[in-house]
Symmetry: C2
Subunit: 321 residues, 2 copies
Amino acid sequence: MACTEFELIERFFNAATRPREDVLLGIGDDCALLRVPAGCELAVSIDTLVSGVHFFADADPQALGHKALAVNLSDLAAMGAEPAWVTLALTLPTADELWLERFMAGFAALADRHQVQLVGGDTTRGPLCITVQAHGVVPQGAALRRDGARVGDRIGVTGSLGDAGLALERLCAGEPLDRSLRARLEQPEPRLAAGIGLRPLANSAIDLSDGLLADLGHICQRSGVGARLELARLPLSEAVEKQVKMRCEWSLPLTSGDDYELCFSVPPQCCAQVEEVLAGEVGGCTWIGVIEEDQGVRCYGTDGRLSRAVQGGYQHFRDAD
Amino acid sequence: MACTEFELIERFFNAATRPREDVLLGIGDDCALLRVPAGCELAVSIDTLVSGVHFFADADPQALGHKALAVNLSDLAAMGAEPAWVTLALTLPTADELWLERFMAGFAALADRHQVQLVGGDTTRGPLCITVQAHGVVPQGAALRRDGARVGDRIGVTGSLGDAGLALERLCAGEPLDRSLRARLEQPEPRLAAGIGLRPLANSAIDLSDGLLADLGHICQRSGVGARLELARLPLSEAVEKQVKMRCEWSLPLTSGDDYELCFSVPPQCCAQVEEVLAGEVGGCTWIGVIEEDQGVRCYGTDGRLSRAVQGGYQHFRDAD
């Protein structure tokens, strides 16, 4: 089922990113051959973006190339892994060179910024669909996991919450959208340095793809604990803060997805160190709550009461359901 | 963009295959964590099957689950790698439980047979599209590659050629198709043991996905050599042999794809050992030609002349174009 024009694309892939020393064989054989450093574990994550589901069919291909890679690198960030290699399976309705060139420009710019090499690709004809697998390395036993949160841990997040959700709302409504808010949706920055910095300090971590309540819910469920969130502490951009006040509810920062910030839990004695480590990183660090014994995620208002944070009722999540 | 029914599928993935000791963390976190044995390289390959392009929309899901994994394991076989882990990105129009159960049954049966664990999955809603990445390990510097063929090497293949192509023709024409021929198209067996057996003996190898001429062309192009094929030596099933005779041309065994046999080149002094190693393996071994200095792949008939092997002209491939 080979198709010459698609084969050509694969050759184009080969030159897309800068070569790494630990790639013994890149694109062009049946497999890529890679060297994992001694004393390290391999961390892998695969994600698919589908046209019309995860992005608009007419999305800017350069931004899409960035995002397809970013959401995978974000998974590596959440484990505290150092990114290394990536594979790309691209299903395209036509071999549109201009589209592809821009897509790969976005993809490669982010890859190069993090010294990631594209080592394998498959291009097929069909409805637009992008699958990326990211590969990283992490010292033995050092990876950040979802199941390590302990009662008393403080809950932190990088960056601000709800910006991608607000940008999506505006795009869907055809409302004007400033460049920086649009970038929060279309070109998220994977918090790789933050993840590596957190690695020796945090008990658990996750990246925020589905929204804070759902993703913190995953940590709680996997760790067999619960969480108390202080709404007043949530880090909000001016734009999101304005919406929260206007709407008198918190769904933007609590349940909208695609922020790709990190959420993590840290034993109290390590918090100062975490602040120091993350002070120099884009996204910084804000403490938003604490891990508790009672399962579920509870949101508290400035009055110290369990809050009706999101339209429709109290937020009292169990297992993120 | 999470969807509860799709999240449930991912949990179902978790139990699909038998656990391996070198999987430190499987499905359910941001990444899987894997241990590559000391002294080994990691071999990875990613492939996508698209509905309507690589398979019929109404294909038997169990066979499809088998094939989606088999085509990737076949890439590991071609490198002489030992299969270890696999990830699966599945885009489905609906979360059809029955379809999925059968798909995973086919996938898991093949995975278990080769001690492969499913360690990562992503399920999304969209047009049916299946991407699998296979991960294997191979001792340092020992992998079989496409670029190692040397002048004088004998060219060998496992199994028989053209069966999958004939099965596809019959399916497309609505003609009757016996079970074993259908299996050659829908449930190819990756030649993993053959690949591992060939590893210390062969100079080059590839798996036959695009047809013998194209794939042997890849070996020749990457190795900077050419090949002479003896048509009379091509291993054919009775069904394919009958068609070749009837049609007076060889396109079935030469240019039809999807056979997933191995094609390899071996220095003459190692041929006896290869025969011995492959004698016990399904697919066996047949010598079909020799590597020459002149670039391109040339087919010779029983009369010793360059043959008009395929309709449309002489087969004299350069760079498989």
